[in-house]
Amino acid sequence: MDVDLRNVRPYGDTMGDGAVQMSFTLPIPQGSVAREAARQLVLSMGFTDAQVVHDEDIGEGFTFFVVYGKTAASVDSTKIIPTEPEFEVWEREECNRRIQEYFGRPLVVVGACIGEDAHTVGIDAIMNMKGYHGHYGLERYSMIEAHNLGAQIPPEELLERARELGADAILVSQVVTQRDSHVLNLTRMIELVEAAGIRDRVVMVAGGPRIDNALAQELGYDVGFGKESYAEHVASFIIQELHRRMDDGRWTP
């Protein structure tokens, strides 16, 4: 298969055909005007060909469209800098062994889903004994002392508990993203940690289905984890980050 990595286009059935399927709703009543509006709109998005294959009245003067388009646009995939965190993923036993070797004491990890967000399943998946999808959680790690505070925890409380427990890492979960509530909460949390003067002492980890590493780092976290992340990712990252800080003389166990 001959793919031009500098010129990648969507693929339908012929390399480089640029085939895209899309669907959307316009706030105008179904009919020929609406169909033409949908077509023109898609063309104005940069598609060279637009076929309105379906349009339907969905009530209240709204029309739903399914449109197929072809795009001439392409991306140079060789120029893309990955935003995923770079670290090695270790198995649980390996994590325990490294903690013993590097730090000589268990790491304290404190986590919560903060703000008004009541979703616990994500943070539980990472922290609780039973884990998720066959991946045990941090509580199962003999060299990790995991404290999961649950959901609806005010950032102030998470900070206070983290200080009491002498946390080496703080895990923050955010699932609800409506009106950017996750950004507000995550920002509030990091500001508190910085104001308390303990930013250098703790690894700050953000997670949730709509969180990615780029967003987390932009907000001042060390790392962000989205869908399909498990305890071993989190543990491995924390160990490597603390080890790095230790090497730089920024952190001592």
Partner: protein
């Protein structure tokens, strides 16, 4: 209609266990009252509005009575109103402006008090009865669609945007519109006031918002000739107050679970048990169908392993509901299609459980929740999962089919998500309308195996809960894998032990209306 031929004696045993379990918490419910029950009482009397700082008057009045909350707000309000001649709203305003000290009035003579409460409670009962009559008349003139009723949610945060999002699906076949509440409203110890346009993941439940949506749906009803039911959420710290608002604004259904707030919002168990009981008495008087939240258990527990906790909780919710005066046709008991789509024969297990619940709860409008936890960004796969869910729904004659959204894992529904969901359900329901008349269930096959397993597990589980008591069972984490202690959680400070002087005049009038004086004597 398929008959699985379930063991009726076993069903009777399950019901008996559930009844014993709920009776175990009756004394604690009877011994105490809560700030939210007391606020509901003044709302029932007609108090509404806010003070200059935006604090709802029911909160102002109940706060003023707080040092003597154990007497019940009713006692002090009656004394103040009889002494001053003010009506409840004048009194609320005067308390807010610190013009009166509500605790300073003399106890009125017994006969005067008697007349006062007869007048007050009949005013309330008439107000609610008016709404019930209105609903019945509308339903006669504009008959609602057949079951499974197609239920969709709106959740834009802005009540006016919600109206658009609700009208469109109602015109396209939705039978029920639920307005999802804003994130965090369940933890507010007051009900926000007025029309609202800013919510997170939902729209604030306020009486004005109820009114706006009711009006919009009544208009659609007249356009389509079909009555459209309106739903909101009465869970959280203000459960009974929200039911009062719903009763006054002719909501047709209320999410009103007995344990959801405890498990999923960390609200104190004692507070919740008291609040849910009074709430459900109001539901019963207002002829409101309740929905329960067992589906949620399967988001924190595994759907295959924890199926029996759903049935057990349905039975507990039923027992609490019946005790409060609700009838089977008011009990929209919950369950859900939440098995991991990767497991072999998952569909058969889902079908088995849905048929089982139908037969155990024959007269109840069961509320069936769609796949949510295993929905992903692959909206196309999600759309098929929803189709299988709809097939089970029509096959097992569910009452309330909460339509699955293909974008469940992404955001609260877009306009076309809802439309596609309605199309999916409309297609499956119509194409397979009589599927249950077409097949018998193999008595030795996988469906009956599953049913027997779930029923036996349920019986064992209920025995265990009954032995430990419901409060301990909850603190042991037996429901939804979540542990909550009776001394913990939010809202415990709003629970007060009743003094010997305590009165709640509505208990008597509701009990009389529901014909349940004797039973309710044990509870409230």
């Amino acid at each position: 209609m398929i008959r699985l031929g379930l063991d009726q004696e076993q069903i009777a045993r399950l019901r008996k266990l559930a009844k014993e379990i709920v009776h175990g918490v009756a004394p604690i419910i009877k011994r105490n009252t809560t700030v939210s029950v007391e606020r509901a009482i003044v709302r029932l009397m007609g108090l509404d509005g806010i003070d200059n700082d935006g604090v709802p008057l029911p909160n102002v009045v109940v706060e003023a009575v707080r040092p003597r909350l154990g007497d019940g707000v009713a006692r002090h309000v009656a004394a103040a109103m009889l002494s001053t001649g003010m009506d409840i709203n004048q009194l609320g305003t005067a308390v807010a402006n610190r013009e009166v000290d509500i605790l300073s009035f003399p106890e009125p003579p017994e006969d005067e008090l008697e007349d006062f409460w007869t007048e007050q409670t009949s005013f309330t009962m008439e107000r609610i009865a008016e709404r019930v009559k209105e609903r019945n008349e509308y339903m006669k003139e504009y008959p609602p669609g057949p079951q499974p009723w197609k239920y969709v949610i709106v959740a834009t945060g802005n009540i006016y945007e919600d109206v658009t999002q609700a009208r469109a699906p109602a015109l396209k076949g939705a039978d029920i519109i639920a307005v999802i509440r804003s994130t965090g409203q369940s933890l507010l110890d007051f009900v926000p006031y007025g029309a609202t346009t800013e919510g997170f993941g939902g729209t604030y439940a306020t009486q004005e918002n109820f009114r706006i949506m009711r009006r919009a749906l009544d208009e659609v009803m007249k356009e389509t000739g079909r009555y459209i039911r309106l739903v909101n959420y009465a869970s959280g710290l203000c459960m009974p107050e929200i039911v009062v608002m719903g009763a006054f604004e002719r909501l047709d259904m209320m999410l009103n679970d007995s344990m959801y707030g405890i498990l999923f919002r960390d609200i104190n168990p004692v507070r919740t048990f008291i609040d849910q009981f009074f709430s459900r008495m109001i539901d019963a008087v207002a002829d409101i169908i309740i929905n329960t939240g067992e589906d949620n258990y399967l988001t924190t527990s595994d759907a295959v392993e924890a199926a029996h906790t759903v049935l057990a909780s349905d039975l507990i919710n039923e027992a609490f509901g019946l005790a409060a005066g609700l009838k089977p046709q008011h009990l929209g008991l919950g369950h859900a299609f939440e098995m991991n789509p990767d497991i072999e024969d998952g569909f058969l297990m889902e079908l088995a459980q849905a048929l089982m619940l139908r037969e155990i709860f024959p007269d109840h409008p069961l509320k069936y929740m769609p796949p949510t936890k295993h929905m992903t960004g692959n909206v196309f796969k999600g759309y098929i999962m929803n189709a299988l869910f709809n097939l089970v729904g029509v096959w097992s004659h569910q009452g309330i089919q909460l339509l699955g959204m293909l974008t469940e894992a992404l955001h609260t529904p877009y306009l076309h998500d809802r439309f596609l969901a309605l199309q999916n359900a409309g297609y499956v329901f119509n194409n397979a309308r009589h599927i249950s008349d077409a097949f018998l269930v193999n008595p030795d096959g996988p469906i009956m195996d599953r049913v027997r397993t779930v029923m036996d597990d349920t019986e064992e589980f209920l025995k265990k809960v009954n032995d430990s008591g419901l409060l301990d069972a909850i603190s042991n984490g037996w429901f939804a894998d979540i542990s909550r202690s009776p001394e913990g959680g939010k809202g415990l400070d709003g629970v007060s032990e009743k003094s010997p002087a305590y009165i709640n005049p509505y208990i008597r009038s509701f009990a009389a209306y529901l014909g349940r004086e004797e039973e309710l004597e044990k509870w409230m």
